[in-house]
Symmetry: C2
Subunit: 201 residues, 2 copies
């Protein structure tokens, strides 16, 4: 900003808000104004929530999920099927799958995907701990729920190779037409996968 | 959300972030994860900045600007021209004009625009204090820098009528082609205003 129009405390707030994903400089200013206008309803509670999260949030030592307990609520849940581990790239993917709430399984968060171009190798991801968990006698299936991108699929193949000698079946998410998707807007890769994986009515 | 996937502290943080303008539920989750991952670089400083803003930010008793001093830095600045008052609807508009930094004037924030449909009348805006400021002997010009919307222009006409007997000239922002704008994408109203207000090369 060329000129400090508000006090340094407000400028600092705007700069920090602008570092959130989804907020640019302009929307960070709007957010700061909104916070200042809603001081009691929003700004004070948000300051408190951030302070509490700063103090309490930990990474689950078992699966890499983020929670305020360790092991996390998912790993500690006795109703979860211990025979299935769903492998995801990021905690956001874990949350997305939990919202779909299909599998009552546990998770393993890799912390990213292999990406030679970005210098992300196997040692940067939680792959060795996954291989260790796959050796546990109760584990029967590893579901690779990774992005359908080049990096995601590279990671899936790498893990499949590593788990070749482990006594588990390795599966991946189905490819196909998204629910509500229109064929006309889908790419050829998705359409050809959906055709090849066609199922009886 | 159908299912609490993270702890209640994280859910609360996500809910508060989702109330910021520009962030929906999905981007609030992304923002919360980003904050948790950048705990020391971002989450702790943001909690502190919000706390400081909660304590220090005040509304300027003179012009309605938001600052940590009262009167605000603009009103207290002895280098500002005291003969011109720029009337804006909101603090965000004041900041936008300060970034343009053309006029070295002082401001008056109305706190909105007249909107009969939304039940916003003159008593809801800082119009009486504007009329009082316009009577001050040093004030020569009132620039109405209001949105070029129906509500903004209604407000501009209402204020112009009120200031009819005050010894000030009342001006408004020019209409015309935005800098960098392509004619093909402009509405007829803007084009006709730009043609009528054409200036010599």
């Amino acid at each position: 900003m060329a000129k400090a129009t508000a006090g340094p405390e407000i400028e600092r707030l705007i700069q920090l808000l602008a570092r959130l994903p989804g907020l640019g400089p302009r929307s960070a200013r709007r957010a700061a104004l909104h916070l200042i206008k809603k001081r009691d309803q929003l700004m004070t509670p948000l300051a408190g929530a951030l302070q509490i999260a700063t103090e309490k949030v930990v990474v689950c030592r078992n699966c890499g999920n983020i929670d305020t307990m360790n092991p996390c609520a998912v790993c500690s849940d006795p109703k979860r099927d211990p025979s299935v581990i769903v492998v995801v790239g990021d905690v956001a993917d874990l949350w997305a799958l939990e919202r779909a709430s299909v599998l009552n399984a546990r998770y393993h968060v890799l912390g990213g995907t292999l990406s030679p171009l970005d210098g992300v190798g196997p040692q940067d991801l939680a792959i060795d701990t996954l291989v260790a968990r796959a050796q546990e006698p109760e584990v029967k299936e590893i579901v690779l729920a990774l992005n359908a991108t080049v990096d995601g699929q590279t990671t899936a193949h790498y893990i499949t190779d590593l788990l070749h000698d482990a006594n588990v079946s390795v599966t991946r998410l189905a490819h196909g037409v998204p629910v509500g998707g229109e064929l006309d807007y889908l790419d050829e890769g998705t359409l050809s996968q959906a055709l090849r994986s066609r199922t009886p009515m």
